[in-house]
């Protein structure tokens, strides 16, 4: 083969690579986030049950059981309804949220003893969810537009090749300066997230385990471990009974639905 042709072929073959080199770390970070979002789009609705195990620094445990339903909203954040089954004194309490990319989230709380629906402020994003190590912002819908991104490096953890991406929250009232995510290159599922507090110190680490694939497409972890490095407290979330493509619509996420639950 003609050496010149070979050189040309190689040069052309290398073009996309060179192109990738020209991409900034920010662009690559955003691209990874967009790809992860695309891969997790189209599930329409899902429901699941969750067991939350809270552990204090001495290792003493307490548990909560929560049922949740989520409705995918295209072009905006999701709608979610959570119902608390235990501890028994909060049984029947329900939490409804409409997440938004641009404006503040809308949230309502239903208090069964008073039969009262209360609109609550969504500025408690950094606050603990049910006294756990998960903040409201950790469990609410993760929309691409809520962060700016930067790809840092590629790294292998737990024998999986990962992108390491830094995210900076753009929404108000976040408790974090940045989040560092280890995203599985093959499946685009986040395996580990480091959370840095307002003083930019490492505050918490989340690891996600025992992923299962649903509808041949959507990956969900069966277990999440959140460790707080400052307080030494930790929280485990155990997810079960994932159901996708169930018949849910807006009317399962209105204020009547909040009261309906028993």
């Amino acid at each position: 083969m003609n050496k010149r042709i070979l050189a040309l072929t190689l040069w052309f073959a290398a073009l996309p690579l060179l192109n990738a080199q020209a991409q900034t770390a920010e662009e690559k970070g955003l691209q990874i986030a967009q790809e992860a979002d695309v891969r997790d789009t189209g599930w329409k609705s899902q429901s699941s049950t969750m067991k939350m195990i809270l552990r204090n620094a001495e290792g003493r445990e307490s548990t909560r059981a929560i049922r949740s339903k989520t409705l995918e909203v295209s072009g905006d954040g999701d709608k979610a309804l959570s119902i608390f089954d235990t501890p028994p004194d909060v049984k029947g309490t329900a939490f409804l949220s409409y997440t938004h990319v641009q404006k503040a989230d809308e949230q309502w709380l239903y208090l069964p003893a008073l039969k009262r629906v209360k609109r609550i402020s969504s500025n408690n994003k950094s606050g603990p969810f049910m006294g756990s190590e998960f903040a409201y912002e950790d469990i609410s819908s993760q929309e691409v537009g809520k962060y700016t991104y930067k790809w840092l490096r590629d790294e292998k953890i737990e024998n999986r090749d990962c992108f390491v991406v830094e995210r900076v929250p753009t929404y108000k009232h976040s408790g974090y300066t940045r989040l560092i995510t280890w995203m599985d290159k093959q499946t685009y599922r986040p395996l580990k997230i480091d959370f840095y507090d307002r003083k930019n110190e490492l505050m918490k680490t989340l690891t996600q385990h025992e992923f299962k694939q649903y509808l041949d497409k959507y990956w969900r972890p069966s277990r999440m471990e959140m460790k707080n490095h400052v307080t030494n407290k930790s929280t485990t979330l155990l997810w079960e009974n994932f159901q996708f493509g169930i018949n849910l619509s807006d009317k399962d996420f209105d204020r009547n639905a909040l009261k309906r639950i028993r």
Partner: protein
């Protein structure tokens, strides 16, 4: 009230035995200590009671239809009237394409403010449970709820009237002359069988939550007139007039601010009056880098009837502290000031979960400098501390 509970339980028993419904609920022991001896001879300084509130729920067809039953019983060692029972809920609910039907005995809450609940008029107040008026008696009704993009419209047909509960001779707090509810009179010739109607539209748009309501029927708030009971003893006899009330409740939720307003115009006993409650709640989230939220609440309470209303030109200032810990510890402290004199009502409410199934509640009320003309004047020596421990299942 004991008999309907018994009948319901008997009817329910075969149902629960056959189905997959769930029981839950709580048992509570309560201790109340009054700082001063009572103004009336029969009253005690300490009261002990026990209350049981089980709840049975069942769903069919993925929650399309559901049923709920919540009886309530309290036994008080000293106050014979406070030993009482009620069906808080006995409801069947059906969910259809864009509406819901709820039939039976229920509790409905309307409104947004914290210091008092003006627009909330569906259920009768159970004053025996707590002088703050937050506890309600179950109300029989048929309620259809229509959902659209323009909000939710609830239509209520209220079948059957519940009388307000009042403390007996040995109870606290109470009126100087006890109320005898057996001789109550009514404006309507149908008396307590008058069917009441109500409609409420409520909607949520952006930061706004708005409600407009109209009620026509028997006024839940009786006027008390001195009279004699069949034994010839002086008592207060409740008279329940008819009323027509228009109400509005609005909340704006903006960042750390909640702005709240409730307004009513009520036509009853040939007189129309206006009352409102308006104010704010501001929350400092995660103070001093902790998980603790501290809220500051203030509301102005107005009623154009003046001294004929409990709160007529009053200001509430308070604070809500949520520790956001695993035990869900929280505290609500406040004072309602009479802006026309030195009257002050202090209140403190706190609660904390113990283990997984127990809950400790603390409540304290202090009345100070109450004016002779205030409707609360008879409660001037009724400062109390209440401790209750509940077991939940």
């Amino acid at each position: 009230m004991f008999r309907p509970i018994l009948i319901s339980l008997l009817l329910l028993f075969p149902l629960t035995a056959l189905s997959d419904g769930r029981w839950s609920g709580n048992v509570e022991t309560q201790f109340r200590y009054f700082q001063h001896p009572g103004l009336y001879a029969e009253q005690q300084q300490s009261y002990a009671s026990i209350a049981v509130e089980p709840q049975y729920t069942q769903q069919w067809d993925n929650g399309k239809y559901s049923f709920g039953f919540t009886p309530f019983v309290r036994y008080d060692r000293h106050d014979e009237e406070r030993s009482h029972a009620d069906v808080r809920e006995l409801t069947w609910l059906g969910v259809y394409a864009d509406w819901e039907l709820r039939v039976g005995i229920r509790k409905v809450f309307w409104g947004v403010t914290e210091s008092q609940h003006l627009v909330d008029v569906i259920n009768q107040t159970d004053f025996l449970e707590n002088p703050d008026g937050e506890d309600k008696l179950g109300q029989p009704m048929i309620n259809a709820s229509f959902v659209s993009d323009l909000g939710i419209v609830d239509v209520y047909v209220l079948t059957g009237f519940r009388q307000r509960t009042f403390a007996a001779k040995d109870g606290r707090p109470r009126t100087p002359v006890v109320v005898d509810t057996s001789g109550s009179t009514y404006e309507s010739s149908q008396e307590d069988r008058h069917v009441d109607y109500a409609v409420r539209w409520h909607h949520s748009v952006d930061v706004w939550d708005i409600g407009l309501s109209q009620f026509y029927g028997t006024n839940r708030e009786p006027t008390l007139t001195p009279g004699l009971n069949p034994q010839g003893e002086p008592v207060l006899i409740p008279h329940y007039a008819l009323m027509s009330q228009t109400g509005m409740d609005v909340q704006a939720t903006m960042d750390n601010w909640l702005l709240k307003l409730e307004w009513i115009s009520r036509d009853s006993t040939n007189r129309r009056h206006t009352a409102l409650t308006g104010g704010f709640e501001y929350t400092f989230v995660g103070i001093l880098e902790s998980a603790v939220d501290v809220g500051v609440i203030s509301e102005y309470l107005f009623d154009d009837r003046g001294d004929a209303a409990v709160f007529n030109n009053h200001l509430m200032v308070g604070s809500r502290i949520a520790f956001n810990d695993a035990q869900s510890t929280d505290l609500l402290a406040g004072v309602i000031l009479d802006l026309d004199n030195k009257g002050r009502m202090f209140s403190l409410e706190g609660s904390r979960r113990l283990g997984d199934s127990w809950k400790l509640n603390l409540e304290a009320r202090v009345f100070s400098g109450l004016d002779v003309r205030s409707l609360l004047y008879p409660w001037r020596d009724d400062d109390f501390l209440q401790l209750s421990l509940g077991w939940f299942f």
